[in-house]
């Protein structure tokens, strides 16, 4: 497992900082690092996403293949997970070194998705008992700097959102033989609903407190952590203690606790989850025009679902021709005027579309105590030289922000 060695003095430094709610990189205990989510990064997949969380980088590719449904669930497709710890991430993973960690992560993912509501498996069925879609979810760890679980779950959610399953037609031949026809139009495809896909939040117990999004240094100071997979509805699809230590029952309850005394606070104060992604945009040749008419969307869940995460989605049409760098520029210039300059721990997150006026988008932000902005997706024009420009008429931008817990 990717670990770092810390001296006793360093451990004391980290521990004392966390006791005073100030972490080594300036965050408070319940802050995440900056996050970038990029979707549609590998053209050969049916859906893919890359997530960078601090120095942790995860690439997820989803491939849909046709197979036979499992005998126990004839009317459902299924998902297969695999986590590969490549030696790129750390030399410890060389050879079979990453196998143990990969197995642990893979098994946890199976557990997280082991319920009927996360993904609508029935929609993956083509003909009951005969054919179904099999989603191979392959996770590749590119860099490890702690908090793998959270990064992987976010990447999987983004990749599932991005997944396009081709439409197939089943026809019954004269002699009772079923034929499967694949549509010729590459845009004729089905999107998965990712509304209920959970995100994992890892709470790392360090000294008397717990932190989210622990770096490797913080992880080295902690004996045990609790991972929780949380859905937007506030339910938990998997909870698990990892690490070699034990936890007091009270501290577990505290970690999972809903903040009852503060009516304004969202449930799961430290268990943020993704906000719902907007309904998938139908892909058709007319999409450039439709996307320019609604260049962006801002989603805030109703209070019962209001988890501290906010996901914003921006659709850029190719005609807007903004390179990601200019986009960032416009973002930073206007954000400074509207919000206080982002200190280290709280960076403000805004979300602008180059073609539309930003004020309407920003209005909900003052309602949030403060939030910060994470991440963006590259428009088709440039930025990620590694990957070819996506074939889609739209690429989109995800912005993720989290209210600061006051």
């Amino acid at each position: 497992m990717a670990t770092v060695q810390l001296s006793e003095a360093e451990k004391v430094y980290v521990l004392h900082g966390i006791r005073d709610d100030l972490r080594v990189d300036g965050r408070s205990c319940e802050d995440y690092r900056h996050m970038e989510i990029e979707t549609d990064v590998v053209s050969n997949t049916d859906g893919s996403a890359k997530v960078t969380l601090g120095h942790t980088a995860v690439l997820v590719g989803i491939k849909a293949e046709m197979g036979k449904p499992r005998p126990a669930q004839p009317a459902e497709g299924y998902m297969e997970f695999f986590v590969d710890c490549s030696a790129n991430a750390t030399p410890e993973f060389e050879g079979r070194g990453g196998e143990e960690l990969g197995m642990e992560l893979t098994n946890t993912l199976y557990r997280v998705f082991n319920n009927k509501r996360s993904v609508d498996l029935a929609s993956l069925c083509i003909s009951p008992g005969e054919h179904c879609w099999l989603l191979y979810v392959d996770v590749l760890l590119l860099q490890c700097d702690g908090n793998l679980y959270d990064g992987i779950s976010i990447a999987i959610k983004a990749a599932l959102f991005n997944t396009k399953i081709p439409k197939v037609l089943i026809t019954e031949g004269e002699d009772g033989v079923t034929e499967i026809e694949l549509s010729d139009d590459p845009y004729d495809c089905v999107r998965l609903s990712v509304d209920n896909v959970p995100c994992i939040v890892t709470l790392c117990k360090v000294g008397p407190r717990h932190v989210v999004d622990a770096t490797l240094q913080e992880k080295a100071c902690s004996v045990a952590s609790l991972i929780m997979a949380v859905t937007p509805a506030g339910t938990c699809t998997c909870m698990r203690k990892v690490g070699g230590g034990s936890l007091d029952p009270e501290s577990i309850f505290e970690m999972t606790e809903v903040r009852g005394h503060d009516p304004g606070a969202p449930p799961f104060p430290v268990c943020p989850s993704f906000f719902l992604l907007p309904p998938p945009v139908p892909l058709s040749s007319s999409s450039p025009s439709s996307s320019s008419s609604s260049p962006s969307s801002f989603f805030l869940l109703p209070p019962p679902l209001a988890l501290p995460f906010l996901l914003l989605l921006l659709f850029l049409s190719p005609s807007s021709s903004s390179s990601s760098s200019s986009f960032l520029l416009s973002f930073s210039s206007s954000s400074s005027s509207l919000l206080p300059p982002p200190p280290l721990a709280l960076s403000s997150l805004l979300f602008l579309s180059p073609s539309s006026s930003s004020s309407s988008l920003l209005s909900p932000l003052p309602l949030l105590p403060l939030s910060f902005l994470l991440l963006f997706l590259s428009p088709s024009s440039s930025s990620s030289s590694l990957l070819p420009p996506p074939p889609l008429p739209l690429s989109f931008l995800l912005l993720l922000s989290r209210c600061v817990d006051i």
Binding site: M103, N115, T235, P249
Partner: protein
């Protein structure tokens, strides 16, 4: 296993007969008693039968039987560590291995350890590790092997209990015993120590709060050393479930203590009065 290649063997893939039986809808009765006479929503763990020291070759061993769930666990060590590359030699290392016998479940399993068994092994290891004084065993390793002989639900919880008992029987220094307990949440009510049928109940799809939870608990230190849940449950349900599991562990505690005392007495009979 040697195979005779000259002989015509059976088909490569075979299926259990149970798949072809038209099962009546085995839904759990939604209230009142359970199939084995226990009640819902009560901390009603199955009575357990426990023995220590069955395997004479092992340093310590234990057998546990709860209903039809039967497990055996052996502990070997401490012995010199096989892995010499470890940088941290000040602490001993614990290895846990949990396996299901191929005939233990309704459908035949494989002898080769599958990913589910590896996952359970990891859970056993992480549950036991906080309880063992590994710093007393530098440069050495302790192996824990759990074999499920018959699986009728809650195998992981009983495996943890059994393994900690075997460790204690082996004379490994520990802070506390580790007790495991699991529940199956079915809507608003829970079933403690579920049987195999209750665990894999067919009405998973319907309604909210369907899931299962396994907790391992150090009773005298009041610490939770292992926790895992799946399915989908609300936060309050989970918290209540953890509390129920802890209660279930306390019910198990005196039985385990007695078994241990009995094993110690049997090993060294008290000197006669005369």
């Amino acid at each position: 296993m040697p195979t005779d290649t000259k002989r015509v063997r059976g088909p490569e893939v075979s299926q259990s007969l149970s798949r072809f039986i038209c099962k009546p809808e085995t839904t759990l009765p939604s209230d009142g008693t359970r199939a084995d006479g226990r009640n819902r929503d009560q901390v009603d763990v199955r009575p357990v039968f426990v023995r220590c020291g069955l395997v004479s070759q092992a340093k310590g061993s234990a057998y546990i039987e709860a209903g039809n769930t039967k497990l055996i666990c052996c502990v070997y060590g401490p012995k010199e560590t096989e892995r010499k590359d470890e940088t941290d030699m000040k602490c001993g290392r614990l290895f846990a291995d949990m396996r299901f016998a191929p005939f233990s479940c309704p459908e035949r399993g494989s002898w080769i350890q599958g990913s589910q068994e590896k996952d359970l092994s990891l859970m056993v290891l992480e549950s036991l590790q906080p309880a063992v004084c590994l710093h007393k065993y530098p440069r050495s390793q302790i192996d824990v092997n759990v074999m499920v002989l018959e699986n009728n639900g809650s195998a992981l919880a009983h495996a943890i209990t059994c393994a900690s008992l075997a460790l204690a029987d082996a004379g490994i220094e520990m802070y506390d015993l580790v007790l495991g307990c699991s529940i199956r949440q079915d809507g608003a009510s829970y079933l403690i120590d579920p049987t195999f049928l209750e665990e894999s109940g067919s009405n998973w799809a319907s309604g909210e709060n369907q899931g299962s939870l396994t907790v391992s608990f150090l009773p005298s230190l009041n610490q939770i050393s292992g926790l895992q849940s799946d399915g989908e449950m609300g936060e309050e349900t989970l918290t209540a479930g953890v509390r129920t599991c802890i209660e279930g562990c306390y019910k198990l505690y005196p039985v385990i203590q007695q078994a241990l005392v009995k094993a110690v007495r049997g090993a060294a009979p008290p000197p006669s009065e005369s």
